[in-house]
């Protein structure tokens, strides 16, 4: 019997698990996929928003500003890459200027610090590659960039370090009321729990529906991205937004914490919650928009493109409520969901206290976690010590990102354990560089096979039927 069961191991579920693991609670995290961070968490803009976008008084506004303030210390505790690089919302004409002034006023109301409207002259100094058509911009120095999937992975890992359990490939099919709480079942397995926290992203409406809460819907909004080589990471220093419209914040141009340049997202409302296809129209839109805001973006340095689905709730705000005692929804967590995640977690802890659940602090709680890049971030002397102790750190497997065998094996052995190539990629960055795993993929397949004790041809890209190899060649020998 668990005290808390969290459905969904994205960044929201992860932060909730981590925050609640500060208390003496038996926690279980259920994830339908083969790994954590598989939904919107792995494919988004990776932005820490300052908090001037959301409507005054909304949960989005409250939790965004709070989350933005928390992010730096959370990332530092969890060993997650984060950078306060500031953001600019650029305007092209007087209409935009009026909107930017509204945003400025709203930001001040929301409690965003240090906002200012900059004119062309100052902007050119700050961002020399901004398009000449930009006449002004709202500058938010408190905005930042973060690695979203590492945040989720490390939050869940930290929760696990502090006693939480994770069950992947647990696709919830029904939830029944029991004497002391709930029984959550998949087709194969059940868990009993006192409290359910629904962080199921796109499927959070379906999960709520299982206890008869049909008060909201969540629909997918497609967001496509193009990622450029690290050579292009310094094209801009800040995150560059366009002046927002009804469909969101438009196509942005931003460096990532790892030094790449990210363009996107598009914004198309769709029906199918599993349709993560990119589209030719989407690419055209990204490219066209990018050229309008920033000059000198080297599109021939594209290394990959991808698509994520935002979970858009039917209320216009985050849906964080308790339809009945012991069941909490955290749904419709679209942008600024990533930024808000640490604050959402605290908000939910407070909700539990308000509902009368006793949360007793766990004196053994350890808030910190080693970074997946501890080796890469170390000095040359430290690295040499580490290579002496474990020669696998001396063997570079991913040449593009400079990732060693030691780091990859560490990542495979650590909680939450990856079970596939993409899981290793998100944790270590191996296969994430300019060759996209062309060189190191076959060797990482071997490492996964060895470490997980599965056959070479059983290794998948991301679980299920996503097999990398189908069979031995004629006369091939099992590895």
């Amino acid at each position: 019997m668990y005290d808390i069961t969290i459905i969904g191991a994205g960044v929201v579920g992860g932060m909730v698990a981590r925050t609640l693991s500060k208390y003496k609670l038996k926690i279980c995290i259920l994830e339908g996929q083969n790994d954590v961070a598989m939904g919107a968490t792995k494919a988004n803009s990776a932005i820490v928003h300052a908090g001037f976008d959301a409507k005054e008084g909304s949960l989005k506004a409250l939790l965004n500003v709070r989350g933005c303030k928390m992010m730096e210390s959370v990332c530092s505790e969890l060993g997650v890459s984060y950078k306060k690089n500031g953001s600019l919302v650029v305007g092209f004409d007087d209409n935009d200027r009026a909107t930017l002034n509204e945003l400025l006023a709203r930001g001040i109301t929301n409690g965003v610090e240090d906002l200012q409207l900059l004119e062309k002259e100052e902007l050119k100094k700050l961002e020399p590659n901004l398009s000449d058509n930009v006449i002004c911009a709202l500058y938010a120095p408190t905005a930042g960039i973060v690695c979203p999937y590492t945040l989720a992975i490390q939050a869940i890992g930290n929760a696990m370090d502090n006693g939480a359990e994770l069950k992947c490939n647990f696709e919830v099919s029904c939830i029944e009321k029991t004497e002391n709480g709930y029984r959550i079942s998949s087709d194969n397995e059940s868990v009993d729990t006192r409290i359910v926290i629904n962080c199921a992203g796109l499927y959070s409406d379906k999960i709520a529906g299982m206890i008869g809460d049909n008060s909201f819907d969540v629909h997918p909004r497609r967001g496509e991205y193009i990622l450029l080589d690290k050579e292009c990471g310094d094209t801009v220093a800040c995150t560059i937004f366009r002046t927002p419209s009804k469909m969101g914040k438009g196509i942005l141009v931003t460096p990532t914490v790892h030094g790449n340049l990210l363009l996107g997202p598009t914004s198309f409302d769709i029906e199918d919650k599993e349709d993560k296809d990119t589209t030719a129209e989407g690419f055209a839109k990204i490219l066209g928009n990018t050229h309008e805001t920033v000059s000198g973006v080297q599109l021939n340095k594209t290394i990959t493109s991808f698509c994520g689905l935002r979970s858009v709730g039917s209320t216009g705000d985050f849906i964080i409520n308790s339809p009945e005692k012991g069941f909490i929804n955290a749904a419709g967590i679209e942008s600024p969901g990533l930024t808000s995640a640490p604050a959402i977690a605290e908000y939910i802890a407070d909700m539990l206290k308000d509902e009368g659940f006793e949360l007793e602090a766990n004196p053994e709680f350890n808030p910190t976690r080693k970074s997946y890049h501890a080796f890469g971030d170390a000095s040359m002397e430290e690295q040499n010590e580490m290579i002496k102790a474990n020669p696998a750190y001396g063997k570079i497997v991913c040449r593009c990102e400079g990732i060693t065998e030691g780091e990859i094996v560490d990542a495979i052995r650590r909680n939450p354990q990856p079970h596939d190539l993409d899981g290793v990629k998100r944790r270590t960055r191996a296969q994430m560089g300019r060759c996209q795993g062309g060189f190191c993929g076959p060797y990482i397949t071997e490492l996964l096979s060895k470490e997980l004790g599965i056959p070479y041809e059983g290794v998948t890209k991301f679980g299920g039927d996503s097999l990398v190899n189908v069979e031995l060649t004629k006369g091939g020998q099992a590895q």
């Binding site: 990119t278 594209t302 690295q383 996209q436 041809e457 299920g464 190899n469 189908v470 031995l472 004629k474």
Partner: protein, 411 residues
């Protein structure tokens, strides 16, 4: 302090090492990131290597072994499993491996021979899903030839580069069905002999002016939508066609891996993506040489070896401090000739200039001029982007040369 550090133990690195050794510099260190010498030749188990160099048809490993055996015989030191992290302009090489940890070596001369990598599917912005079953042709080659696993049974290949053509045959021999090789351009970028032996002999259709417009499949590839492209390489909607398959291979170009050249401040060419070099394959940084596929992508390894010998010999000259009278004659092209190697001539001696054209041309004349003077004029029945060409300039031609201009004259 080492006389010569060579980065990369593939065909270029080994050939450069042997040439340097035989010309008198014995203090040589080859740094190789893989666990054995040979580079990409190790997985190229098909034949066709060595026709020019040795007058016989060798497989990739056989060709590599000829050089590896020599490297061993001469006792040239190699560090395997060693990744070079940085090369500085003053020729300090920083590398790492399991035994030595991270170490630095000051070299008198450095030869860059890191080879190239394949352009990945990711670079192409193809619409659709991102399931398992998508590989660059070279990765598939590694799975099949080195690991002994077949990555799929029903294959569509995009791009008719040589590795793609070779893999079309290889996958077929392993029992897979290759449904089509699509090529965006109206001509193949591969060698004519590979089209014949790898596609035609196996009835694999080559669809020129075709591309993949969409990838289908949630977990594993389930199919592709292909389409014909117009003269601006834009897909024509009406020609879309669905092909069911479980695997897509990409053979869409090779990119010289010049990250280390950049760290050493070596000037790179926007056209070759490799270093700008003189006839000795010396880069813009004195004492740093570049050869093989890191300099420009070759179609035949024989030419890689040849080029590396030039670099190896020249490195010896440099280390020994031999300085001939130096000139500076830039080599320019007309665009029909896309690039030349070398791009600059600094010594008046016989120089072989290698070049590639930007399209298929028939019955043309390759002209080398210096201002008004026509230095050389060679007829060619057919030239194609997939096949490297060369001409030799005699020392006498360079006597009063200011700037060489390579052009292609059509009738």
């Amino acid at each position: 302090m080492r006389d010569l550090v060579i980065i990369g133990g593939g065909p270029a690195g080994m050939s450069a090492a042997i040439a340097a050794y035989e010309n008198g510099v014995k203090d040589i260190l080859i740094l190789e990131r893989d666990e054995s010498l040979g580079g990409i030749l190790q997985q190229c188990i098909h034949n066709g290597f060595g026709l020019h160099k040795f007058g016989e048809e060798l497989t990739g490993p056989e060709y590599a072994w000829k050089y590896e055996a020599k490297v061993r015989e001469l006792g040239i030191e190699c560090k395997l499993n060693t990744m070079v992290l940085d090369v500085s302009e003053d020729k300090v090489v920083t590398a790492t491996n399991s035994e030595d940890g991270i170490f630095q070596i000051q070299a008198k001369a450095v030869i860059l021979a890191m080879g190239c990598r394949e352009r990945s599917k990711g670079a192409l912005n193809i619409a659709g899903s991102r399931p398992a079953g998508i590989y660059s042709a070279g990765t598939a080659q590694k799975f099949v030839n080195m690991k002994g696993y077949l990555p799929g049974k029903n294959v569509v290949i995009l791009g008719s580069g040589d590795i793609g053509l070779i893999m079309a045959r290889r996958m077929t021999l392993e029992g897979a069905k290759v449904h089509a090789v699509c090529e965006l351009m109206p001509y193949s970028g591969g060698l004519a002999r590979n089209i014949e032996q790898c596609l035609n002999d196996f009835n694999i259709p080559l669809k020129l002016s075709h591309t993949i417009v969409k990838i289908h499949g949630k977990q594993r590839v389930e199919g592709v939508t292909i389409a014909k492209v117009d003269e601006n390489r834009r897909p024509i909607k009406e020609t879309e066609e669905y092909i069911a398959c479980d695997t897509i291979l990409f053979s869409v170009g090779l990119i010289p891996e010049n990250e280390l050249s950049k760290s050493a401040n070596v000037e790179l060419s926007g056209i070759t993506s490799g270093a700008v070099v003189d006839q000795d394959r010396q880069t813009s940084v004195e004492g740093i040489f570049s050869c093989g596929n890191v300099l420009h992508v070759h179609d035949l390894v024989d030419y890689v070896s040849e080029e590396a010998e030039i670099a190896g010999k020249a490195a010896v000259e440099y280390i020994n401090g031999n300085k001939d009278e130096s000139v500076s004659i830039p080599v320019k092209t007309d665009g029909k000739i896309r690039y030349t190697v070398p791009q600059i001539i600094t010594k008046k001696k016989d120089v072989s200039v290698y070049f590639r054209v930007s399209n298929i041309y028939k019955n043309v004349t390759v002209k080398v001029t210096d201002g008004e003077n026509v230095l050389l004029s060679k007829k060619r029945v057919k030239v194609a982007p997939g096949e490297m060409e060369s001409v030799t300039l005699k020392k006498e031609m360079l006597e009063n040369a200011k700037e060489l201009y390579f052009s292609l004259e059509e009738k």
